[in-house]
Symmetry: C2
Subunit: 527 residues, 2 copies
Amino acid sequence: MSKIQEAVLIAGAWRAAKSTGTFHAENPATGEKLPPEYPVSGWADCDDALNAAAEAAVLLRAAPSEQIAGFLNRYAERIEARKTEIVEIAHRETALPKSPRLADVELPRTTNQLRQAAAAVLEGSWAMPTIDSKLNIRSLFAPLGPVLVFGPNNFPFAYNGAAGGDFAAAIAAGNPVIAKAHPSHPRTSQLLAKEALAAVRETGLPPATVQMIYHLAPEDGLKLAADSRLGAVGFTGSRAAGMKLKAAADVVGKPVYLEMSSVNPVVILPGALAERGAKLAEEFAGSCLMAGGQFCTSPGVVILLAGDAAEKFIAGVKEKLEATPPATLLSSGVAKNLADGVTTWQAAGAELLTGGVRAGINKFANTLLRVSGDAFLASPEKLQTEAFGNASLMVVARDAAQAEKILAHFEGNLTGSIYSDTRGSDDELYTKFAPLLRARVGRLLNDKMPTGVAVTAAMNHGGPFPATGHPGFTAVGIPASQRRFAMLQCFDNVRPHRLPPALQDKNPNGKTWRLIDGQWSQRDVGA
Amino acid sequence: MSKIQEAVLIAGAWRAAKSTGTFHAENPATGEKLPPEYPVSGWADCDDALNAAAEAAVLLRAAPSEQIAGFLNRYAERIEARKTEIVEIAHRETALPKSPRLADVELPRTTNQLRQAAAAVLEGSWAMPTIDSKLNIRSLFAPLGPVLVFGPNNFPFAYNGAAGGDFAAAIAAGNPVIAKAHPSHPRTSQLLAKEALAAVRETGLPPATVQMIYHLAPEDGLKLAADSRLGAVGFTGSRAAGMKLKAAADVVGKPVYLEMSSVNPVVILPGALAERGAKLAEEFAGSCLMAGGQFCTSPGVVILLAGDAAEKFIAGVKEKLEATPPATLLSSGVAKNLADGVTTWQAAGAELLTGGVRAGINKFANTLLRVSGDAFLASPEKLQTEAFGNASLMVVARDAAQAEKILAHFEGNLTGSIYSDTRGSDDELYTKFAPLLRARVGRLLNDKMPTGVAVTAAMNHGGPFPATGHPGFTAVGIPASQRRFAMLQCFDNVRPHRLPPALQDKNPNGKTWRLIDGQWSQRDVGA
């Protein structure tokens, strides 16, 4: 406690943490400590943040939508105005390339998300106002209360607890956010939170609309997730940590949204290999090496039918991987987990084709393994271990019947892709395989790698357990992602002037889509 | 195992159970056993049902909507055709009045729910098809897999596991149902399931679309809820049983929807008492005695501000309760739990005003207690114990400030009602109290008792924990209740002819509402 520590953002002010220890970030590229010291917040910080958030939640429920939208737009502008500095710091803390990744892809995506959220707040349709005009029963989705957002290590902006997808969705649903920064990029998170606070002040929102702490003891995280002052939890990260949070929240009936592990199976059918195998090897290698393979949607497992075309494809991928220098990984922890994952695959019978060794500070050689369908079916759980990073596993099935069995053994995943011959020769196989994959993934792709996650209403960045904790919700895509942080509120015979604007007879802005007596409409009730 | 037992419905046939024991129903009015013997199914029955349901789920995903709707409509017709017998049996097993309750209210509500579900299947809008035409990303809610439905004791038709709200919603979302009948009305459930099977056969659905078992060991119920072949669980019943099921399902990330305890607070403001106190006493007494107080939405707790008007209201309610003969309760278990609940209230400082004693076989005298605001605040948890049946508690707050504190101590509830002066004298108090209640209840009512639950899209029969397990879902109201039993499926770049009909460019029936590029519409994509 004697060292000078960075301040935490609680109750509208940057103040000294009530800390139980300190930590520092590392420069992944050099392995060196990055000053300064950041606090590990104790329960007293959490308690203060919860009290402030609970007060802010009451005020936010009454805030006009223009004010909340104004904040989101202003925050986006402020991030853009400080872009150079934010990108520089994030690069130092994550080793992700400044350009195009951080400056030209992730930062614009982040501000785009904030602006889409602002537009959704103004339009109002996200709340799905539903009106039975005859019975005078009306309902809509309404703010749930303070949302605790845990950001992951791999998207310092777009999933940051204080700026990313869960943040934008929670705020746009009318809730304050307590951001738990990822300790691998504390300065990035701090810069973002500073701009958030400035935008909060400029737009007159309750000061505790955005709060941030850097780090926590695991037991305090669990206590936070179960606290009665909290409305919900959003988490992106490892399965082990996610499952602990889920258990803590579930026992008190607290909504908790997790985005956890996913190996994102890719099925490449024989006709597609015959038609365009070399191109697909290139496409696959590009996708699995993108960002050092550190995407939730990175394709970790490929399913092929045995044959010459499959062998050629595997050889082609191997060649690309060997010809590409490995990226610096996000942290020494990621590098260690990746090596462990590859070892788990090997122990379960997978054969190493290339890589599998360290290749410098926080670097792991681009890695490819293969395993037979028989071996996969003997250890389906171990061979679905997520090896987060630049490693992939080729599963070579003996025949179509075995491939069906393999697919039936897959756990829930965010995505599943099927490549097929454009001229139709794979259609019979597609018809067999697609339903098996469909039931197990949130997003089914055709002839496309899963690594791109478009921010659109039609996106599902979610999927069956253990990819997430509930298969009905998406973490990406306004407006559905907002509804995760809302409760359904029904108003039965409530007097007209006491109804929220979106449920009054007059459509508040002429733009809100409402389900009136079974028909979606933008009109006034009775009009 | 030597006795002749009733058959269970598994895999499309009524067959002998693989039972571990037997039970029988009771006639609540006489306390006598009702023959015959019913089996307590062992795990072997569950396992068989799961296998059959998993197969049926695959076939149902491909079933045309006309076929599923046809089943729901035909089932409703068959229930109506056998109405006299079904009502007679349900009356014998539950002691609920044949008329109006069973024949004229609950049975028509049940067939109405089935028909609304059929209409929703045909229309298709429940799945919320969402299309980004530029990016060719499309999503919708799709069947989740077999749904295990636990019906409660208090609605032998409308919430029956084989005919009620969860059943209709699960089938209409395209899933097979494994119904766990409530052991207090096995013959009623059997009759319904027989009609369901006949309708399944008539419409050519997979034979295991509807299965039913009567009873289970608790550990088998938990094992069922966590089984990987199951898609989701719907449960209506006690908090103790619900929380155990939830824990079993949560740990494997299985969606579980619970409708548990609720005391349904009613706030009656001073102006309303002054204006129409005598009428309100009558209204309240009628609501809290309805069906022997055995509704999930029965008003268990009233909050009043101290004063003469409150005293008069309490005296008026007491008078009505004493003047009305008590109903026969659903079972000896309900009678025992009710007596225990009243004892818990008394132990926490509540004063018995009337009742509090047994009044015949499975009857409990209509019961009223009162407690001061101080005493309530000293034991808020105990005084929110649900006393399921014909007992209510009046909480008399010293003043408005204390009433606010009391409201802030309420747990999640299905409903909350506020009565106020129609001329506006209570408006200031309403403004203080309503936000506190609003955040804690699924349905907020004005000047209306909570006991009526209209089956409409705008209804929310749900609410924050512990009323349910998630505040975003409703158990009543097509189409929202269907989406509980669905997963979000995204199709990214999937070839047009491989898309489900609802996501193809052409609107499949011209009636499905789809969110196309941000606008709800019934048109074709590109039209």
